[in-house]
């Protein structure tokens, strides 16, 4: 069943376009990674899903309802981001007990268990937490609320790597027991790649890719070697990335399916053919101009 259906979704703030003609669907009870660079529109998309803002054009439906100003959707959705605020008269321990009544599936044992595990001081104020601790605390709420649609916007900002791992582990373990639809946004794919099922890659508000994360690893292939030998093979093919380096050396990235049987031939001609890590691939796919930062320095 499709939980989220987005159709030609666009959102602009004044003259700036945050989302541009996004069409995609997300299955129920999957974990999807929303990947994009800073400013790609991840937060805007999540806010539309959570019903905090409404689209400028097109529409997004969750369980076939528009989420904006929709109480039913609000009850079934939680968006965890670093702008979450709690009243100053609540200590951390108060927040957990005060937020609980709003979520039908809230699990107190889990919330308190995680709270103790991450050794929070129950009497601290939310606003006095460090960035990392705040992210951790918010994530506890995100996991324990067990909302049918759980959205995390850059949940691990400021967390140290041990806590990150624990967070992903906790999220996955609870997901296995209580499946729900989870969307995690991040600018970095590698740290959450394993727990994802799908990946939605956006670039400047537009969809770049939406596919199972397993396919991403085999999507593209990199070839490196002498430019004269390499050039004829890739002539006329659409390249994801191309970089000339050293003397007569060329590095290109292209879709695997474009290569077919030529791979073996290339290897025998001394070209290096190798898979591309998902992180690199995301960087190439979301790069604003081909050639990357090197181009800036080449102009001299």
């Amino acid at each position: 069943m499709k939980v989220i259906q987005s159709h030609n979704l666009s959102k602009s703030y004044g003259k700036t376009t945050a989302l541009n003609d996004l069409t995609f669907e997300i299955e129920e009870n999957t974990i999807t990674g929303l990947i994009g660079r800073n400013g790609a529109g991840k937060t805007t998309l999540l806010k539309i899903m959570a019903g905090h803002i409404q689209p400028t054009h097109g529409e997004l439906r969750i369980y076939s309802q528009k989420p904006f100003n929709n109480l039913e959707r609000s009850a079934g959705t939680i968006l965890i981001d670093d702008s979450m605020m709690y009243p100053d008269s609540f200590r951390l321990v108060d927040i957990l007990s005060e937020v609980a009544p709003f979520y039908a599936n809230w699990n107190n044992t889990l919330a308190n268990g995680l709270f103790d595990y991450f050794s929070f001081n129950p009497n601290q104020l939310h606003s006095n937490l460090s960035k990392g601790s705040k992210s951790t605390f918010n994530s506890i709420i995100g996991i324990a609320s067990r909302c049918p649609l759980t959205l995390f916007d850059e949940p691990t900002t400021g967390m140290d790597s041990a806590v990150r791992k624990d967070f992903y582990k906790a999220l996955l373990k609870d997901y296995l027991k209580h499946p729900r639809t989870i969307i995690l946004s991040s600018h970095l794919l590698s740290e959450l790649e394993e727990i994802l099922e799908e990946i939605l890659l956006i670039k400047q508000g537009s969809k770049r890719l939406h596919l199972p994360v397993m396919e991403l690893k085999e999507l593209a292939v990199g070839i490196r070697g002498n430019a004269q030998i390499l050039q004829p093979f890739v002539e006329g093919k659409e390249l994801i990335y191309r970089e000339e380096f050293a003397k007569d050396n060329l590095y290109i990235v292209l879709r695997k399916e474009l290569l077919q049987q030529e791979g073996e031939v290339m290897k025998q001609k001394g070209l290096e053919v190798f898979p591309i890590s998902t992180d690199d691939l995301c960087v190439y796919l979301t790069a604003s101009n081909k050639g990357g930062i090197d181009n800036v320095f080449k102009k001299d």
């Binding site: 939980v3 129920e28 806010k47 019903g51 905090h52 803002i53 409404q54 369980y63 904006f68 100003n69 929709n70 109480l71 039913e72 609000s74 009850a75 079934g76 939680i78 968006l79 702008s83 979450m84 605020m85 709690y86 009243p87 100053d88 008269s89 609540f90 108060d94 005060e98 937020v99 009544p101 709003f102 979520y103 039908a104 599936n105 709420i141 049918p148």
Partner: protein, 244 residues
């Protein structure tokens, strides 16, 4: 997935209790304002004296009206505050929509009005007791010293009603400024303009409430006006996006 019907009233009630606890800090402002007003009140509100050479006679008049006035200022400020980003952001992580957000805000304001009305009215009693014990009793005039209990209740109800009215005005102003920052300039200009050019109109408007001598009619006027003001705030903000 949960597609079961969510009841806006029960959510509003949950939000109301959340805000009652969460915003409770605001009550310190009210209590402080009332205590300061009470201390000001101990200096009397009016003074007259006459002298015939051998004898000076003066009368100092005391009233706790200032406590009510301060409470009104507080509720006005508080109502505006509730519409600001700072407070609206507190709703965001919770289950809410515009209606439940407003209803719970109003719930909080009503509670504050009830509390403020009662305490500001009782402050008059405290003022009397302080005067009884600190001044020369033989020079304290008995008339209106012992307020009839029924008047005390009436005073509390009327103060609460005035607070409700002012909170509705403040809330609407707050919402207007959220709709467009232009209102931050427009509202004071309009008020000043009205005062200057249509002073009579403003007076009539004020007198509509302050000159009403029938209590039931007053209740009706205040409640209907407040409902209209709050309703207008609802309409203005219903399609507004949450704070960014």
């Amino acid at each position: 997935m949960s597609l079961k019907k969510i009841d806006p009233l029960s959510i509003s009630l949950r939000l109301y209790f959340y805000k009652l606890k969460g915003y409770s800090v605001l009550l310190y402002g009210l209590i402080l304002a009332q205590i300061i007003a009470l201390l000001f009140s101990l200096n009397g509100i009016s003074y007259m004296s006459s002298n015939n050479g051998e004898l000076s006679v003066s009368v100092n008049t005391y009233s706790a009206s200032l406590v009510i006035v301060f409470s009104l200022v507080w509720i006005f400020y508080t109502a505006i505050q509730l519409t600001t980003k700072r407070y609206k952001r507190i709703e965001i992580p919770l289950v809410t929509n515009n209606i439940t957000g407003h209803l719970s805000d109003i719930g909080f304001l009503m509670t504050a009005c009830f509390f403020g009305g009662l305490t500001s009215s009782l402050a008059g009693v405290l003022l009397r007791v302080i005067i009884y014990f600190t001044f020369d009793r033989s020079q304290v005039i008995v008339d209106q010293f012992f307020l009839p209990f029924i008047d005390l209740l009436l005073g509390a109800a009327v103060s609460a009603l005035y607070m409700i009215l002012i909170s509705a005005i403040g809330y609407l102003i707050g919402v207007l400024t959220k709709v467009s920052m232009a209102f931050v300039i427009v509202i004071p200009t309009v008020i000043l303009g009205l005062l200057r050019v249509y002073a009579d109109f403003v007076q009539t408007l004020v007198a509509f409430f302050t000159r009403e001598t029938s209590f039931p009619l007053f209740v009706l006027k205040v409640l209907i006006t407040s409902m209209l003001l709050f309703g207008f705030s609802f309409l203005l903000s219903n399609r507004r996006e949450a704070v960014q």
